[in-house]
Amino acid sequence: MSFKTREILKENVLLVAFIIYLIILPFAVPYPALATEILIYGMLALTFILLLGYVGLLDFGTAAFFAIGAYSMGLLLKFFHIYILLGMFISVLITTIFALAIGFLCLRRGGIYFALLTLAFNEMIFFIIYEWRDLTGGDSGLHHGIRPDLAPFLSLQPEINFYFFTLIFFVAVFYLLLRLIHSPFGSVLQAIRENELRTTVLGYNVDRFKLTAFVLAGAIRGLAGSLFAMYQKFVGIEIASWVTSGNVIIMSLMGGVGSLFGGIVGATIFIIASDILSAMWERWLLIIGIVFVAVVLFIPGGVWAGLEILYNKLRLKSFVEKISS
């Protein structure tokens, strides 16, 4: 088999395996709702990986936009009983506007400031949600209790139905990001990560590219938030907290920020592990913290990079066996 054919097969095998994985997931985990949570956090991880793995921006503010999307949807459902798709669309729109403003501010200073500023504005959003009790319910949360029907006979109440509804959006987001990475826009993003100064000297308005990527990430986070609001039928303030942002960072690093697949791997591991561990030991976060530190120190490419290395080693092994036999 030629090298090129092997590459095409490898790529398709990956995608096929991925699709099978996504279809089996709700049946493989302890309960189907957990699979939905994996998809939603998976989307968040994808946005983080887009920004860090492909643009080189470390973002501590995922939760802010996740929450804006969720609270927007929750409020639209509570006060207007809005049609589901319209509500999601408006939530994404609202989140995008916030992402534009906050992204602009965070990119004002270059370099490391971006990370600090995303954390700072994340906290700002948290405090606004906390203080604006009349609207959001503060730290009691927004109890709207609604998971609307998609259509007169298409109820999303059964968890398995809602899973597949979420899956449609997850696959759409994944595909969009996959196209984006291989697009002209995507190659400029990667150039920025590799050598920002050279990219700017070649004639690219780097700030505009960064802002666009950030706003896109924000929009996807808003989408994930709107889904989450319906998943839980309730919006709790903890989704706006830096802890949530931190969890997205942890799961992305663990999964591997070098590849979009790392996002889903990381989300799966983290959600399932936290579900199991939190029932076992109150201080389970200590284990997560230690594992995270170990990953950063020893396998910064995460599980996905580890799998790739393993795969290459195995392929090399069988190749060596072939030629020596």
Binding site: R179, S183, S187, E194, N195, T200, L202, G203, Y204, T212
Partner: protein, 246 residues
Amino acid sequence: MSLLETENLTKNFGGLRALDNVSINVKKGELHSIIGPNGAGKTTLFNVISGVFPPTSGKVKFNGKDITGLKPYQISHLGIGRSFQVISIFPALTVLENVRLATQSRGSYSFNLIKKVSDLKEPTEKAYELLEKVGLREKASWKAGQLSHGEQRLLDIAITLATNPILLMLDEPTSGLSPEETTKTIETIRELAEDRTILLIEHKINVVLDVSDVITVLHRGCVLAEGTPEEIQRDVEVQKAYLGVR
């Protein structure tokens, strides 16, 4: 006909004065070299001209137009291209992608989120042509970080040429090269000088004596001398500054 002019450029970094009233004039079609010992302010001058940071005072004019304080990406689109002293490529991207990024920057290709970048006909073809010119065509799908030092230098040059600049600014292009590679590079530069204006930084004076039309000598941020290679060779001040320095 003056292509690039700087007027009394001064740049302070805190207490350090890197450029002190530097005024140079680069005429169209010229091969103009800037020489001086390390720390003389040569790269700082390049940085100010290409917009990497603004001067503390003074002006930069290109084709008669004031470009002081413009951002680097804007200056790039005016037709100024520059290379860096340290090889500046995109290591994790392929050799082809490295050059295509440069060819892609002209024209409105880049805000396309949907197309496949490999489907961009013109930029991709131009990139292959440039790789052919520098002899890297076969390694187009290699990751740039895997090339040898000399090959990375060639790639760097290809990237710089890819935007087809009117004014080509080269920062120590022979740095780290063997004597043979140095001679070859100077030859390439001489060829390039035939249809564009070149501003060259070097600190090896003998390298540029043959090939330059005009030489400006910088020392401690000031213009020490300026003139033809013969005039510079005879200049006493220049000899003093270079005493003991090759």
